[in-house]
């Protein structure tokens, strides 16, 4: 057990060396963990992990681990959508998951994570919110997606989206609380999010933490089962050419098809 209290300057030097190394091997078509540019890490999903929640999924994407829970409770509809249920997504980057995460209210990273995952689910119209009305204009079902990051080794956006989609697919609306029968959450579509990182001039899917640390730009693309785009988010302070963007979109559509079948069985 040695203590790693480095000065910022030595941090910077280590960072520079790392970046150079990863850029060098990527120019030869390689990644630090031996994967191909379009290769995901292993995905393991355990659903129904939290039986007290209406839906849940424990997702491991390589060494990244995210637990997503879905709670479905009664609430008031928004005034401008009286005949529609409510979807709300929250993410917590708890300090358990990384030495760099801090306690406290959500910061810009956890807010961006929650909002990007929310966008993929909301814009794909995955959940049929119109079927979540109890009394029109008065009472509707509120679907809470809570993303709890347990172990951070890169690509939280994809791990969290997989977790949210998995948890929603198994979630039941507890309608027995209002004198009806419980029913499966009504699902219309299944979004798949694929995140890519740019290292040097190469773009690779599912970046690990080591790759994220040296990446200059990031792009996440969510598609539905028709191959349509439903959400997108470019991140970090680097840039993509328009051609790289289009290629990233194609990669996402391709991988989405495979995922939808292989991971979600649809």
């Amino acid at each position: 057990m040695e203590m790693m209290i480095m000065s910022r300057s030595s941090d910077e030097i280590v960072y520079g060396l790392k970046r150079d190394y990863l850029e060098k091997i990527s120019s030869g078509g390689n990644r630090i963990d031996g994967r191909k540019f379009d290769e995901y890490r292993e995905i393991k999903i355990t659903t129904n992990f939290v039986t007290r929640a209406e839906g849940s999924a424990d997702v491991r994407l390589g060494n990244t681990r995210v637990l997503v829970g879905v709670k479905i409770e009664q609430g008031e509809p928004f005034p401008d959508t009286p005949n529609s249920g409510i979807l709300t997504t929250n993410a917590e980057l708890i300090p358990m998951a990384s030495p760099t995460f801090e306690s406290g209210p959500p910061n810009e990273d956890s807010i961006e994570l929650a909002r990007v995952v929310d966008r993929a689910i909301r814009e794909s119209k995955m959940i049929d919110l119109d079927k979540l009305v109890i009394t029109p204009g008065e009472k509707v079902w509120v679907v809470f997606i809570d993303i709890h990051v347990l172990d951070y080794d890169g690509n939280l956006i994809d791990a969290s989206t997989i977790g949210a989609v998995s948890a929603l697919l198994e979630a039941k609306v507890p309608a027995s609380k209002v004198g009806q029968e419980d029913f499966q959450l009504p699902i219309n579509h299944i979004p798949v999010m694929v995140t890519m990182a740019k290292i040097g001039s190469n773009i690779m899917v599912d970046p690990s933490l080591e790759e994220e640390e040296v990446a200059t730009a990031r792009i996440s693309v969510a598609t539905d089962e028709n191959g349509d785009l439903v959400a997108m988010q470019k991140g970090l302070s680097g840039s993509f050419t328009v051609e790289e963007i289009f290629k990233a979109v194609d990669t996402s559509i391709e991988i989405g098809k495979d995922f939808r079948k292989r991971v979600f069985g649809r």
Partner: protein, 261 residues
């Protein structure tokens, strides 16, 4: 992209509810150096959007532990005034504003030579005084001009424009109604010189082809707006004798009414 409506957003002549063609921008006006205290500033009117941007820095980053020994940090703060929207917004940043601040900051950072100012911060304050769809891109566009006004060395001035889908058609630069009742929105920002993408989001539903169409349309518009940025800067610096006077009267030509092609 969330509300459903029977409103017809494009009429039989292919014109939009504000009379624009599918590829037509809203009027845009940019002014430089509109504030006295800030190191640099800019004001933009873009359709009904009214946004002012101030830049402070490079200055010593505070608190100290935020300092980076090898480069400047870029802090962007996107904020909506309480009265800028139809229903009064509670003051203070909400989750949407925090996300937008983050992506605007990252986009600006891509153009700034941050290595030249270690241990400092460059602070960009974007205040939306009136909002009318497209505020993040309008704010970012004005922010680049304010950075230039502050003398911050940059590769180029970032610029952007959004496109979207309305009544099944790809159109440029959504207004409020189109944003509320349309089917997709794609804000884009680029480095004009290289045409590289530094900000990109999308929500709604687009086919692969529609997306490509939207990007190309936005890119073209962004290059047009890039010229407005430069003209605005020029308008300030070509009249040095007025520089220290009532800056806000420095009027730019309003190219916004023109079809930009």
């Amino acid at each position: 992209m969330s509300m459903v409506s029977n409103i017809k957003l494009i009429d039989e002549n292919g014109l939009r509810i504000d009379g624009r063609k599918f590829n037509e921008l809203r009027p845009i006006k940019i002014e430089v150096g509109v504030l006295n205290r800030a190191d640099g500033s800019a004001y933009i009117e873009w359709g009904g959007n009214k946004i002012i941007v101030a830049v402070y820095g490079p200055r010593e980053a505070f608190p100290k532990h935020t300092q980076n020994p090898s480069r400047a940090i870029v802090n962007a703060r996107y904020n909506m005034a309480a009265f800028s929207v139809d229903e009064r917004k509670r003051p203070g940043p909400d989750r949407r504003a925090i996300e937008i601040s983050k992506i605007i900051g990252e986009a600006l950072e891509s153009a700034i030579f941050v290595e030249q100012y270690p241990r400092t911060s460059i602070d960009v304050y974007i205040e939306v005084l009136q909002a009318d769809a497209g505020t993040r891109i309008a704010g970012l566009t004005a922010a680049s001009v304010a950075l230039a006004d502050a003398g911050i060395p940059m590769k180029d001035m970032i610029v952007g424009c959004a496109s979207g889908k309305v009544d099944g058609k790809i159109v440029l630069d959504l207004n409020k109604e189109e944003d509320n009742y349309g089917q997709a929105d794609v804000p884009l920002a680029i480095i004009p010189r290289t045409q590289e993408v530094v900000l990109l989001q999308m929500d709604g539903n687009l086919t692969r082809e529609e997306f490509e169409q939207a990007i190309e349309m936005s890119k073209k518009a962004a290059l047009f707006i890039s010229n407005l940025q430069k003209e605005a800067l020029l308008a300030k610096y070509s009249r040095p004798e007025e520089k220290e006077e009532v800056k806000e009267e420095a009027e730019q030509e309003n190219h916004g009414d023109d079809d930009h092609e």
